[in-house]
Structures are given as structure tokens and as C-alpha cells.
């Protein structure tokens, strides 16, 4: 049976072998054919010689989360051949270079082997061994174009664009493509039963990674200073900021730049620069990951207590410690929420898509200025570093930056009695002044030590307590300003809660669960402190699943701590192996819980995609918690 636009292909390569550009072209070609895809780069913390995988999930149903199992494995790394062969689903395909004989002990009767003598084909064509190595990737790309039905013109067009200016590379690349394509058409059954077809379904979508989108959001949001220290997987955000700001913020006549990027000596310095800039009225951000966030904690406490705007992007990776630097996780939730000693807490934002990375980056600049406090955007490697389909980025030209409460010279002239930390408006937020504003009024001493409402040092218990309590008033203000949760479904007894990149497989998981008779109201948390809607969602459901990618159910701890919800109501669904969580894992975990607790299921079939029997609504035991489960 032929299926269209519905498979997982994985390329197993050695890093540093030039595979990334060929694999990237493969993904881009599919995108340009209008085929919905999600890509995942599974790479080692290494520069050359270790195994790396690139996975593309092709799904006309727009299921962009990871799916377990590989339908077509392009096995180009002898070192990982054993596990690569094993990961192919029964009935799947294995493409490999059969120039040399393979270990027949790895043979699997339930998959189809597609041998192409890639090295042999290249030998007579290219004299330079380095070229022969690089073009191996191009040959399999050519072969895949025939095997999967990729428009050849799309690929050749891409080669020409990619090497524009280095024209001497175009012809040999196209030749290598033709070698692969020619061999496949002559000797192999083309196309395979899993194949591609053009669709018009992508509309004006773009394919972008979250870090680039976040960098663009920071530019659009008016960030002028980026201070950072290299750390995977956040580095690409700072680099994208520098690249795009260089294009968008350089004055054409003078060549002078309306931004500054500083690679600091460490993360402490990076956040210090951001805080110094924020204190002096410029929008500034840093991008880091877990270890960097640990280092920044002391400074974050200062900015919380001294009330200085700062924006921090934490592109999370697998911890603890150095952990797995190139694997994804949501393990920094608690650290980010309460970073630093003493009673400290920080607003958080949880983007799920590249579009949201863009939006939240710009919004975080406003939010930090409005709240006069550090705002942490908790992204992760999954959303940050992988190219994903996204709605186009949008910007409202009418939008004005919200610089928060900053007094001008004229404002100060009109004020008799200025106190930096006086809560004039009752929202817990005082009025700032910037250095250099007024010759005689409004200057104050910013400090991490205790002070009164007029910024004067004090250790008086009343003044200290009053200040700490005002910060709580501000915290409540923050709850109404951070992004509201996204809630879907209504009236079901159970709910499912998730955030960040865990949203990617969630649509698919919910569809599958509905087919399995489990209908859940869903809530995607997008901000911290939690708004009333978050608390109400937890309270109005009998129980809720909380899906997250860390071992200790950190968001559960945060929810229980901040909303007072009964911990027993929250059922954690956890995955923390470093790959992104898949719909399969969510589905299985939820169903396991239903079985274990003998919970009734509601058979609400009708999608016709699973099980076969359509539209028979049989309610079993609804409202009868003691009843037998349908399983």
C-alpha cells in the first residue's frame, strides 16, 4: 500500500562529514513541495568524528512532534549501524552504501534493504578524496529524490542558490545528485511505497528555528545590547542576533551600528552587562542554558531586589551539571522560577513554537521594562535549534514599546517628592529614573542591600518587610501581564497540562487518546506567575496529567507550591531521556494510568483514522468512578 507524506526518515551520519548541508537541502526540498515536516538534529557534543542523526518527520496531518520508530533509515555511519538497523520499524526501509559487504548478522528479514554502491559510483567521477567524501551525501540525496518522488528541479534549484558566488561548485554537486538519482532509477524500484506528493497546505508558512526567531523578536522588540557567553544550545540565538541586527540595524551612510553585541568572559559577566544596561535604560538580553543560569543566579537576585529590567533566554538542555549538552530537556523550571538566595522569584515565559519565540522575545522586553525585573524566556533545544514549520512572523507597525514607568526631566520637575520605591499606583511598581536625566532631582543609589521607599539604606524591620510585601504586590501584577494559558476542550473530568516544546506532539497525542476513548481538557501554560485561569483549571478537574520533560516533575512542584492545588490531583507524565517527548509516550502513559486506576473511558470514535468502527458513541461508566474500565 502506498502512503503519501507520512513517514519518518532518519539520516545516520558522522559529524563533520558535510552531511548537514545535504540533509538540510532534503528538508528544504520537502518544505518547498508544500509537504509538512518537522526536523530534528540529534547531534553529539563534538566537532568531528562522532555519530550524528538528522530526522525528518513527514506528516500531512501536521503532526510535528517526534514519533517513535524510523520508516526509512539512511545508514551512513558504520559505527552506529547496529542500532540504526534496529530502529527501523517492521516493513521499513534501510538505505546504505553497499560498496563494501555488510555484516550479515545485522540482517533483518522484516525490512527492505536498499543498497547503493555510493563510494564505488563516486570513485571514477571525482579525483579528490575530500570531494568524494562530501559528495557521498549528495549521492544519497539524488537517490532519495527518485525513491521518494522529490521534485528534482527543486533540489537542483537549491544547489544553484546555495552555491551562488561559488559557481564552480554547482556543476559537480548537480553531477553527484544525478549519479545517485540515475542509479536509483536504473536499478531500484522507484518510488517506494512511502513517498511524497506536492500539497498546497503550507500556505505562507516558513521554516525557521526558535533561536533565530527569538533573536529576530529581540531585534523587533528594541533590544540594543546582547551580552552572552557561548553555550549550547543557546549560542545560535546570540549569533543570529548579531547577524540579523548587522543587516537590519546598521546605518547605511556611516556603517555605524544601533546595537552592541559583547561575548563576555563568562555568564556572570553576561548577565551583569545586561543588568548594567537595563539600569541605564537600554533594552538588553542574554541567552544561555542551564549551567549559565546557575552562574547567573546571584545577579538575578540583585536585579529582582534592586528592580532592574533584564531579559534572559534559557535554551534548556539536559542537566544536571554538564549533563547532555546537545540533548533537550525542561529541567530548569524551578531554578529559573526561584533563581537566587532569599525570597526571590522571576516571571517566566514558555514558548512552544518559533513564532512564539519571536513574539515572546519582543514581549519580554516590554514585560521587563513594565515590571522592572528580570524576565526569563524558557525555551529549549527542541524548539530552539531545530528547523520547524511556523506561521510567518508578524509585526504590528502601530505597536509602541512599553518602556514602563520611567520619569523624564519634565516629569521630575513636576514632582515634589520623588521616591524610587514608592508604590504610587498600588500595583507594586515604582517609578524609575535613568542616570543623567535631571541635574538636581531623581538621582538615587541602586543597591542589593535593604532600603526604604526612598532608596535609602535601612535595616529597619518595618521598612524591609514593607518593601518585600510590595514586591509581592508587583508579583500579582505580573500574573496578569505574562501570557495567559491556552485552554482547549471543556467539561471533561480530567485535564492535561503541558508547556513549551511539549506542545509539539500534544495535538497528535490528544487525537490518539480521543480515539482511545480518553477525552481531556487541555491547558498549555505560557507564563509564570500563574494566572487565575491556571489555578481554576487545576481546581475544576478531578485530576490532571502534567506532561513535562524532566525527572522531578518540576512544573508540578511549582503549581502545587504556587496555587495550593492538591498534589495528588496531578499525575506526572515524564520523559527525560534527552530526545524530545513523543506522542507515543504521552499516549501510553495516559492509557497506563487509566488502566492502573481502573478509570472509565469514553469511546468517542468517529475520526475513522483508527480502529475502523466509525461514529459509535458508547459512553461507558461516565460519572461512575467505580465502574470497570473499558480496557
Amino acid at each position: 500500500m502506498t502512503t503519501y507524506n507520512d513517514f519518518v526518515i532518519r539520516f545516520a551520519n558522522v559529524n563533520g562529514s558535510g552531511s548537514a548541508s545535504a540533509n538540510g537541502m532534503f528538508a528544504k526540498a520537502l518544505f518547498r513541495m508544500g509537504v509538512p515536516i518537522a526536523t530534528r538534529n540529534i547531534f553529539p557534543s563534538n566537532i568531528e568524528g562522532l555519530p550524528t542523526w538528522f530526522e525528518v518527520r513527514v506528516s500531512e496531518d501536521h503532526h510535528h512532534g517526534r514519533r517513535e520508530g524510523v520508516d526509512l533509515m539512511v545508514a551512513m555511519n558504520a559505527e552506529t549501524y547496529r542500532e540504526d538497523v534496529a530502529s527501523v520499524v517492521p516493513g521499513g526501509f534501510l538505505l546504505y552504501d553497499n560498496s563494501k559487504g555488510l555484516d550479515r548478522r545485522l540482517f533483518r528479514a522484516d525490512i527492505t534493504e536498499i543498497g547503493i554502491p555510493i563510494a564505488k559510483l563516486l570513485l571514477p567521477e571525482f579525483a579528490d578524496p575530500k570531494q568524494r567524501k562530501l559528495f557521498k551525501n549528495i549521492v544519497y540525496l539524488g537517490a532519495l529524490s527518485a525513491l521518494l518522488n522529490i521534485d528534482f528541479e527543486v533540489i537542483t534549484g537549491m544547489v544553484s542558490t546555495q552555491y551562488r558566488g561559488k559557481d564552480e561548485l554547482i556543476a559537480p554537486n548537480i553531477h553527484a545528485l544525478e549519479i545517485g538519482r540515475g542509479y536509483a532509477r536504473e536499478y531500484l524500484d522507484c518510488p517506494l511505497p512511502i513517498q511524497l506528493r506536492r500539497t498546497a497546505g503550507l500556505g505562507d508558512s516558513i521554516m525557521i528555528d526558535g533561536n533565530t526567531a527569538a533573536a529576530l523578536g529581540a531585534i523587533y522588540g528594541g533590544a540594543t545590547i546582547c551580552a552572552w557567553y557561548p553555550i549550547t544550545p543557546s549560542t545560535s540565538m546570540a549569533e543570529a542576533f548579531e547577524k540579523h541586527a548587522g543587516q537590519l540595524r546598521t546605518e547605511t551612510d556611516t556603517g555605524q551600528r544601533k546595537f552592541a553585541v559583547l561575548q563576555a568572559e563568562d555568564e556572570l559577566s553576561a548577565i551583569g552587562i545586561v543588568i548594567g544596561a537595563g539600569w541605564n535604560g537600554a533594552r538588553a538580553f542574554t541567552a544561555t542554558s542551564g549551567p549559565g543560569l546557575s552562574l547567573m543566579s546571584e545577579f538575578l537576585g540583585l536585579a529582582y531586589f534592586a528592580e532592574i529590567p533584564a531579559v534572559l533566554f534559557d535554551i534548556q538542555r539536559a542537566g544536571p551539571s554538564t549533563g547532555m549538552p546537545t540533548r533537550t530537556q525542561q529541567g530548569d523550571v524551578l531554578l529559573a522560577a526561584y533563581a537566587s538566595h532569599g525570597d526571590t522569584k522571576h516571571p517566566l515565559m514558555f514558548p512552544s513554537t518559533p513564532k512564539e519565540c519571536f513574539d515572546f522575545a519582543a514581549d519580554a522586553m516590554d514585560l521587563a521594562d513594565r515590571l522592572q525585573t528580570p524576565v526569563i524566556v524558557l525555551s529549549d533545544l527542541e524548539v530552539g535549534m531545530n528547523d520547524n514549520l511556523s506561521e510567518p512572523l508578524t509585526w504590528d507597525d502601530e505597536r509602541r514599546y512599553d518602556r514602563g514607568k520611567v520619569l523624564s526631566r519634565e516629569d521630575l520637575d513636576a514632582i515634589e517628592d520623588y521616591g524610587r520605591y514608592v508604590d504610587v499606583d498600588g500595583d507594586g511598581i515604582g517609578y524609575r529614573t535613568l542616570p543623567g536625566t535631571h541635574p538636581t532631582k531623581g538621582a538615587f543609589f541602586t543597591r542589593g542591600t535593604s532600603r526604604d521607599a526612598y532608596a535609602r539604606y535601612t535595616e529597619a524591620p518595618e521598612a524591609y518587610t514593607e518593601n518585600m510585601d510590595r514586591l509581592l504586590v508587583k508579583w500579582r501584577t505580573a500574573a496578569s501581564l505574562v501570557p495567559a494559558p491556552e485552554i482547549s476542550g471543556h467539561g471533561h473530568r480530567a485535564g492535561i497540562v503541558f508547556y513549551g516544546s511539549t506542545a509539539m506532539p500534544m495535538g497528535e497525542a490528544l487525537e490518539r487518546l480521543a480515539d482511545d476513548g480518553v477525552q481531556l481538557d487541555a491547558m498549555r501554560i505560557r507564563g509564570f506567575p500563574f494566572s487565575q485561569e491556571v489555578t481554576e483549571f487545576l481546581y475544576r478537574h478531578e485530576f490532571v496529567f502534567l506532561v513535562e520533560q524532566n525527572r522531578d516533575a518540576q512544573m508540578k512542584t511549582l503549581l502545587v507550591n504556587e496555587t495550593g492545588v492538591d498534589a495528588a490531583k496531578i499525575v506526572p507524565v515524564l520523559y527525560y531521556g534527552g530526545m524530545s517527548i513523543s506522542a507515543d509516550i504521552i499516549q501510553e502513559s495516559v492509557l497506563d494510568h487509566y488502566e492502573k486506576m481502573r478509570l472509565p473511558r469514553l469511546w468517542a470514535v468517529g475520526r475513522g483514522t483508527r480502529g475502523g468502527t466509525p461514529s459509535v458513541q458508547t459512553a461507558i461508566g461516565r460519572g461512575d468512578p467505580g465502574g470497570d474500565s473499558a480496557a
Binding site: 518547498r32 505562507d204 516558513i206 521554516m207 525557521i208 531585534i219 523587533y220 540594543t224 545590547i225 551580552a227 540579523h244 537590519l248 540595524r249 546605518e251 556611516t254 556603517g255 555605524q256 551600528r257 546595537f259 552592541a260 559583547l262 563576555a264 568572559e265 556572570l268 559577566s269 553576561a270 551583569g272 552587562i273 545586561v274 543588568i275 548594567g276 544596561a277 537595563g278 539600569w279 541605564n280 537600554a282 540583585l302 534592586a306 510567518p392 512572523l393 508578524t394 509585526w395 504590528d396 505597536r399 529614573t433 535613568l434 542616570p435 543623567g436 536625566t437 541635574p439 538636581t440 538621582a443 538615587f444 543609589f445 541602586t446 543597591r447 542589593g448 542591600t449 539604606y457 535601612t458
Partner: protein, 351 residues
């Protein structure tokens, strides 16, 4: 409460500077440091220098770390914004503040614990970045606020108040600054205002990173016999190589110069720094020579003071980064936001 207000009424006969302000207008709160603390003399020298430069006080930004020295920005320039940050991290805060607004005069005050121990990394890197600021270390060789532990600038063999010798090699911030590329490096003594005030003025007007290591005795914990950072030690062992006289732009040159070689350095704003070389062989424009001289004196147990090195043509971080003349904190949507049309083009590049 340690906050003490000073009387607001000034003496009617106090002289005013070019912007109509008296020295009192450049003062801050009453110091809460120990009576006789060298740091208070440094603060007083800053007040005098800023007043004499006739720069309106609100055009300064004061930054500091943690420690006795870092408290001092409260005690000068009360009409300027100040930022007492975290221990050893003033350089990063100063960097951010300077990037945000290149027009402000940035004064950083730190201590030997703050800059030579916990903050030595940040100290080294702000030198490299050439942030346009005056960075003063009030160097007393001891941790005053925690009651007298040795700091990293304390000389080996120098003793604590109880007579216990320091066992470890000292870090010399002046040598470090010279080696890493600071374009203005000086050492002075808090008890020598005549030397210190012109250095502060010159450091403030220097474009680039200006560093002054001020030996500033701690009367509570490090001013005894056996200490190499005491008033007595400095008065007997301090040796000035180059004395600087500062002449503001347009000011009539009336100073009476002692014999010896005099060299005039022209500052970016038109003012002049006149260097009197007490040792005629000394060349304050030669980094290697300066470093050699400092190290040789150190071997002899002498503390070399004065302006040790200056590069009047130095560049600062904004020039390195090629940022616009307008302070970055003054740019708004119009200058910063590329707009929706540009975003359409960006979207197209991701298809």
C-alpha cells in the same frame, strides 16, 4: 540608621565652578567608614576633581561592587545615579551602563578584594574591552568589612594586626592592567591629594579605560608596623616617577613647574595633562618600559606612584563596536524596529 543627611545650606562665599556649582554640590552623604579611612580621602579627591572639571554631577554614573570601597559612591556625587552591585562584578555592570549611554562619565570604585580576588576575571576583561571609564581601586590589602583577612594584593610577608605574616604572593593590579592593554594606568596614595586629584581628572577625560590603583590604608585592620599598606610605609617607601598636573580646556597655564622634563599630553576635550618626570629616563608612553619599571621598584620594596602609562590616542569599546553616536538608550521604535515590510522579506528568506 546609618543614613545621615548633611546640611543643605552652603557657605555663601564658597567658590563656584564654570557651571555655577560649589564643591558641596559634588558631595554625597556623610561617610559611615572609620575615621581616618583612606577611602574617604579618595572620595574627597573625586569630589574635588569633578567640581574642578565643571562637569554637572548628574552626568556621572557611579558603579561599585561590594566592600568598604564599594560603599563610597554614596559619599560623593549625591546628585548622580549610583549602583552598588554584587561582589566582584562591578566591571560587567559598568560595561552594560557604558554601552547603554556612552555620554555619561562612568566612575567605578572597587576594592582589592572586589577586584583582585573574587572579581579578578571581570577586572581583566573590562581592561581588554576598553570601556570608557575611570576605574579606581581603593587598595588597602585587607578585607575590612569582614574584619581584617588578607586580600590578594597584600604583600607576601606583610603582617596582620596580630603579627601573622601573609604567606602568598601578591597580585599587582597595575602590572596586570599594563599587560592587558589599559590605555591609562596610574598608582597613587590616598594621603597624597596633590597627586591624586589631577590623576582623577585626567582619568575621567581619558577616552578608553583609565585605571588608578590608590593605596588607601585601612586604619582599623592594616595600618600597623609590619603592614606594607600603612600610612607610614607609603610615606617612607612611596616613590613618584611622573607627577601629573591637569589643566582644563581654556584654562590659563599658570602652574609653577619644578625643574625636570615636562611633557604635555593633549586630552580629547582640549584640556592638557602636563607630566613632570622626576626620573627623566622614564617614558610614560612605553608600555613595556612602564611594566619593567613597576616590577623593578617592587623588587626593591618601593611603591611607584604617579601616571605610569598613557596612550592619548586610545580607542574605547564603542569605537571597537562601531556603535552610533546617539546613546543606545535614547533610540526608540523608529530607529530600532525594522517594521513589518522588512519582516515580510525576512519571512520570505525562510521559505
Amino acid at each position: 540608621m546609618t543614613f545621615v543627611a548633611k546640611p543643605r545650606v552652603h557657605h555663601p562665599l564658597l567658590p563656584t565652578n564654570e557651571v555655577g556649582l560649589t564643591r558641596r554640590d559634588y558631595e554625597g552623604l556623610v561617610s559611615t567608614l572609620c575615621a581616618g579611612c583612606g577611602h574617604d580621602s579618595v572620595s574627597a579627591a573625586i569630589v574635588q576633581a569633578c567640581a574642578e572639571l565643571s562637569i554637572p554631577p548628574h552626568q556621572f554614573a557611579k558603579v561599585s561592587g561590594i566592600g568598604c570601597s564599594s560603599k563610597t559612591p554614596s559619599y560623593f556625587l549625591g546628585n548622580s545615579h549610583g549602583f552598588n552591585s554584587v561582589h566582584g562584578r562591578m566591571p560587567s555592570v559598568a560595561t552594560g551602563a557604558n554601552l547603554a549611554n556612552r555620554e555619561l562619565y562612568c566612575i567605578g570604585v572597587s576594592g582589592d578584594g572586589d577586584s583582585a580576588s573574587i572579581g579578578i576575571g571581570q577586572f581583566a576583561h573590562i581592561v581588554r574591552r576598553r570601556i570608557n571609564m575611570l576605574y579606581i581601586v581603593d587598595n588597602n590589602g585587607t578585607y575590612g568589612l569582614t574584619k581584617g583577612q588578607f586580600s590578594a594584593t597584600n604583600d607576601k610577608g606583610s603582617t596582620s594586626k596580630k603579627g601573622v605574616p601573609n604567606l602568598y604572593e601578591p597580585i599587582d593590579l597595575v602590572s596586570m592592567a599594563l599587560q592587558i592593554g589599559a590605555s591609562f594606568v596610574a598608582r597613587s596614595f590616598s594621603g597624597d591629594k596633590t597627586q591624586l586629584v589631577p590623576l582623577i581628572k585626567a582619568g575621567l577625560l581619558h577616552r578608553g579605560f583609565a585605571f588608578i590603583d590608590v593605596i588607601s590604608p585601612c586604619v582599623a585592620f592594616n595600618n600597623h608596623n609590619g603592614s606594607t599598606k600603612s600610612y607610614d610605609y607609603l610615606r617612607t617607601r612611596g616613590a613618584s616617577v611622573v607627577t601629573a598636573d591637569f589643566i582644563a580646556a581654556g584654562e590659563e597655564i599658570t602652574a609653577d613647574y619644578a625643574p625636570g622634563e615636562v611633557e604635555t599630553v593633549h586630552m580629547p576635550d582640549g584640556s592638557q595633562l602636563r607630566l613632570r618626570k622626576l626620573d627623566t629616563s622614564y617614558d610614560p608612553h612605553n608600555r613595556a618600559h612602564a611594566l619593567e619599571h613597576v616590577l623593578e621598584a617592587q623588587q626593591e620594596g618601593e611603591v611607584v606612584t604617579g601616571l605610569l602609562y598613557v596612550d592619548p590616542d586610545a580607542s574605547d569599546c564603542h569605537e571597537i563596536l562601531d556603535t552610533v553616536e546617539t546613546p543606545l538608550n535614547a533610540l526608540g521604535e523608529t530607529e530600532l524596529c525594522p517594521g513589518s515590510e522588512a519582516l515580510d522579506r525576512i519571512n520570505a528568506s525562510f521559505r
